[in-house]
């Protein structure tokens, strides 16, 4: 385990809704420089978990600490300085330029009108550079492909200048090349900027290869650890019903069972 | 098809009309009848054939060509069988329902007000004679004109309902008619000539077998009117400029140049500023054009429903800029009300053009009628 103090730590957390418990007794820590993938089948509660982490959904029990402060006590404005989001199914205005969209990430720091200071402009420029989309800064969101749009949204999260970025299925709707590209990009970000990146994904094979930590959600149970530990503990073998998909330790990947 | 349909109907209507002209009804069975003398009114005619009477009402609604034929028979009379009619009524009428306050003075003048058994919204009635009968519960209230209470009306079993309607195909009246109670339309409010409106007393005369009384009454009014009008033609040289109406929001509603009111103003020796317009109904003009034209008008009559200067000022300060307002030359008729709030003018004026004319002469040329006391038009407070 990392000796450094975690950015975010989850203690005995129960997540869910008043009528429906999704998972209970979760204990996880998120550290600097770590790329963490949250994995589970559809409906397992990945989004509920991420929504609770980002403060959008109140927890049913337990506590989330961000830099030792209880998350649920913080106003949205404060949380916005620690955590930025990239959501699945993005909404946007067609007329919005990529630059303006990325600049919206500076909102926690701008004045009451949202005017950009010189510092804000630099941060936006840096985010565009990191994602390598400076060339399309003045194109409109309505004109971008899905992959380009996803990059722009990641740049926006970077511009928000938080130690932690949470992404909800950022590789949805992308082709294999762009999926790999986004994973590599996120990996690069954790290494170069020191940020902690948490993403929900269905791309198990990519996650096993590139992520530092995995959080598996399986039928209300949560198991966290590095890919290596999880493989050793044979946790991955139980993730899917074995009649259809099996995990192969040698290749660190899942295979469809052939009859 | 939908576009053609109204057109076809129009052709049909026109052809019907021509047919009527070429072959007057009843000509075969009763070639000779006693035609009622109607001098000014355009909306009705009546012929007494001895065995029956035919009362015709044309254009009881604006923009309609329809003519209604009513067959009136006394008990025991056997009219020829080949008559086309819309309604058949037994006369003289013993029980009647009328729907406009303008019908009431005629009933009173003919001394048949006792036959009135029902009226929509009794509060509008101001005449003391009829109010007395209302107090005695002899007249049933039938709610509002647009929503006459059919059950109450039918239970009264009137011989006829005198209807008036702004539009053709009034459902209330067709329901009454379908239930077996004859509906006779009255178009007095559609007459453009002051004497024409008053002449509708003869319409009631026919139904009560009181043609002579109606004629006599009408002649008296006519003589009064003519003699008042004669005052003007002899002695008046300077005619005051006259404005009428008022604004609702920023649109000014005022009587057209060929309207009933415009004729009164002309006959009373006033120079109505809109006398050269062609409308028979009302004009709706922008504030600024009225202001430009009529700011200096000497006299302002009938400013909508206003009864005081204060009220007008509160409604719009533009009114205060008119000379007539500054000089307090404003005369309205809505202040004269019956005990239950009905405006007397609406009820009585159509029947008494002589009084309206004298009121206006008194306003325009007070010296001509020094001893006369105004009935309807009073100076605003």
């Amino acid at each position: 385990m990392n000796k450094e103090k975690p950015i975010l730590s989850v203690k005995n957390l129960d997540i869910g809704y008043p009528q429906k418990q999704v998972a209970s007794n979760i204990n996880v820590e998120i550290h600097r420089n770590a790329l963490t993938a949250v994995i589970g089948i559809n409906g397992s509660g990945k989004s509920t978990f991420l929504n609770t982490l980002s403060g959008n959904l109140p927890q049913t029990a337990g506590e989330i600490f961000i830099r030792q402060q209880p998350l649920h006590n913080l106003p949205p404005r404060k949380i916005a300085e620690h955590i930025s989001l990239v959501l699945s199914n993005p909404v946007y205005s067609q007329n919005l330029s990529v630059y303006d969209m990325v600049a919206l990430g500076r909102q926690p720091y701008t004045n009451w009108l949202g005017l950009l200071s010189e510092q804000d402009k630099q941060a936006v420029q840096k985010a565009l550079q990191l994602i390598d989309i400076e060339s399309m800064a003045h194109r409109k969101c309505g004109e971008l492909s899905d992959g380009q749009l996803q990059k722009a949204f990641i740049a926006r999260a970077l511009a928000q200048d938080t130690e932690m970025i949470i992404l909800d299925e950022p590789t949805n709707h992308l082709d294999l090349y762009h999926k790999a590209f986004v994973f590599k990009l996120l990996k690069k970000l954790t290494q170069e900027t020191g940020k902690a990146v948490v993403l929900a994904t269905h791309e198990l094979n990519l996650a096993l290869q590139l992520c530092d930590e995995l959080i598996l959600i399986n039928q209300g149970e949560i198991i966290a650890g590095s890919p290596k530990d999880l493989i050793q503990n044979k946790v991955l073998h139980k993730l899917f019903p074995s009649d259809l998909i099996r995990f192969d330790e040698k290749t660190k990947s899942f295979w469809v069972v052939e009859n | 098809m939908q576009k053609i349909l109204p057109f076809l109907l129009l052709i049909f209507l026109i052809s019907c009309k021509e047919e009527n002209k070429s072959k007057p009804p009843n000509s075969a069975s009763s070639p000779k009848g006693d035609t009622l003398q109607v001098e000014f009114a355009k909306g009705f005619s009546a012929v007494d054939y001895g065995t029956h009477k035919i009362l015709k009402v044309s254009n009881p609604f604006p923009e309609s060509d329809k003519t209604y034929t009513y067959l009136l028979t006394r008990s025991g009379e056997k009219p020829p069988k080949d008559i086309d009619y819309d309604e058949r009524v037994n006369i003289p009428i013993e029980k009647i329902v009328v729907t406009s306050t303008t019908h009431i003075p005629s009933l009173e003048s003919l001394e048949v007000e006792n036959t009135l058994v029902g009226f929509p919204d009794l509060d509008y009635i101001s005449s003391p004679k009829t109010r007395q009968r209302i107090e005695e519960d002899k007249i049933a209230d039938l709610d509002q004109n647009e929503n006459i209470n059919l059950e109450v009306l039918l239970s009264l079993q009137p011989d006829a309902v005198i209807g008036f309607s702004m539009k053709e195909n009034n459902k209330v009246y067709s329901n009454i008619s379908n239930a077996g109670t004859p509906v006779i339309f009255n178009g007095d409010w559609n007459e453009e000539n002051p004497m024409g409106k008053a002449e509708w007393i003869k319409f009631f005369g026919v139904m009560y077998d009181k043609e002579a009384e109606a004629e006599k009454h009408f002649e008296t009014i006519k003589e009064n009117y003519e003699s008042a009008k004669a005052l003007i033609s002899q002695e008046v040289e300077e005619k005051p400029t006259v404005l009428s109406g008022a604004m609702y929001q920023d649109v000014w509603y005022l009587p057209g140049g060929k309207s009933w009111m415009a004729q009164f103003i002309a006959d009373a020796g006033g120079n109505y500023l809109y006398k050269n317009t062609d409308e028979t109904g009302s004009l709706s003009l922008s504030f600024e054009s009225v202001f430009d034209k009529a700011r200096d008008a000497e006299i302002w009559i009938a400013p909508s429903g206003f009864t005081s200067f204060e009220q007008m000022k509160e409604d719009s300060k533009h009114y205060t800029e008119f000379e007539a307002f500054k000089n307090k030359q404003l005369y309205g008729y809505t202040a004269t009300k019956g005990e239950t709030g009905g405006v007397l003018y609406f009820e009585l004026a159509p029947n008494r053009p002589d009084l309206v004319l004298k009121d206006l002469i008194k306003i325009f040329h007070p010296e001509l009628l020094a001893d006369y006391e105004n009935t309807f038009f009073k100076a605003l407070e």
Binding site: R77, L85, L104, L113, L115 | S286, E288, S289, D292
Partner: protein, 340 residues
């Protein structure tokens, strides 16, 4: 768009606004020479007193009303469209105009039912009734907004209020004598030209309050372009902002409806027109652009309604829709898509 280009756009549109303002004042039923119009405006003596009065006390207040009404409705439309992320939203989706209509209908047509006194039949009475009506609907919507997590649900509630109040108005009209019904119908046609100085200053005050609140909501409205979840993740307080926008819209649209009647179309269409003409979505630029465009559009509509040179006028509510709707349809057909 570069900052320089935006400045040029605003310069030009302000110039347009001034031109249409003067055009509006110089045209009307009565033909008044332009030189005399200017003289009257600047308080110099003119030969024709009646003309001077018309310019100063009728057309000038009417032109100012047009500007307040057009800009106020257009800005509330913009706020509503962004708040609800719905291109069909307008200032009246919250049921404000239906509330106002119900108030006015009760006063005009329900007079006999409730024994309403003469005060309520005066012009102040109608304004009072309209304000109370829209205010009560606003309170109901705000109450709903505190209970609802979903902004769309508020939109539906507003529409339900509109249906409900519309039905009550229908029942009232069904039972009303034709003269009262006509008065109500005339009110619903809208009117810009019957505001006294006093009324105009009250409208101006509400307009100013509404606009100030609107300015405070701009930052969050920009965040809302990415949806409520993103807005919240960027530190925006969704509920506070929702309240701010609802109150601003109510102040603007409510007071305008009270003083000028339920004027259709402008609030819905102007934001779309502006988005089609200048491709920005930053509300710091959109709001002033929509404000100016709304004012210009209303000034033009009023000129058309006055039918210059004729003594007749058209109801303003008909003009805004008859002349405005084809323009929006034409622009949409030409661009082949709705930019939102």
């Amino acid at each position: 768009m570069s900052a320089k280009k935006i400045r040029i756009y605003f310069g030009i549109s302000l110039l347009f606004l001034l031109c249409f303002f003067l055009l509006n004042i110089s045209l009307g039923s009565v033909q008044i020479p332009f030189s005399q119009t200017l003289k009257s405006l600047f308080g110099q003596l003119t030969e024709n007193q009646a003309h001077a009065y018309i310019i100063k006390h009728y057309r000038l207040p009417k032109a100012i009303t047009s500007i307040l009404v057009g800009s106020g409705l257009a800005v509330s439309g913009l706020l509503m469209q962004t708040l609800f992320r719905n291109p069909l939203a307008g200032p009246y989706v919250l049921g404000l105009s239906s509330g106002a209509s119900l108030g006015v209908a009760l006063v005009i047509m329900g007079g006999s039912l409730f024994g309403i006194t003469a005060f309520f039949l005066s012009s102040w009475g109608v304004i009072f009734a309209a304000s109370i009506g829209s205010f009560l609907v606003m309170l109901a919507v705000i109450a709903a907004s505190f209970r609802m997590k979903n902004t769309m649900a508020i939109l539906i509630i507003g529409i339900m209020f509109a249906a409900l109040t519309g039905a009550i108005v229908n029942v009232l009209s069904y039972f009303s004598p034709s003269e009262q019904l006509q008065r109500y119908v005339f009110w619903s046609f809208g009117s810009l030209g019957n505001l006294s100085t006093q009324e105009l200053s009250i409208l101006g005050l509400f307009w100013l309050l509404g606009m100030i609140l609107a300015v405070f909501s701009l930052k969050t409205l920009n965040a809302l372009l990415l949806g409520e979840n993103y807005a919240q993740s960027m530190g925006a307080s969704i509920k506070t902002n929702r309240l701010l926008v609802i109150v601003a819209t109510s102040l603007l649209a409510g007071s305008i409806t009270a003083f000028a009647g339920p004027i259709a179309f402008v609030g819905l269409a102007v934001p779309h027109l502006v988005r089609l003409v200048i491709p920005v979505s930053n509300h710091l630029i959109l709001m002033p652009a929509v404000l100016i465009a709304g004012a210009i559009l209303m000034l033009i509509c009023d000129v058309i309604a006055q039918l210059p040179g004729s003594e007749l006028t058209l109801p303003i509510n008909a003009v805004t829709s008859i002349f405005g709707a084809p323009i929006v349809i034409w622009l949409l057909m030409r661009k082949k898509k709705l930019v939102f």
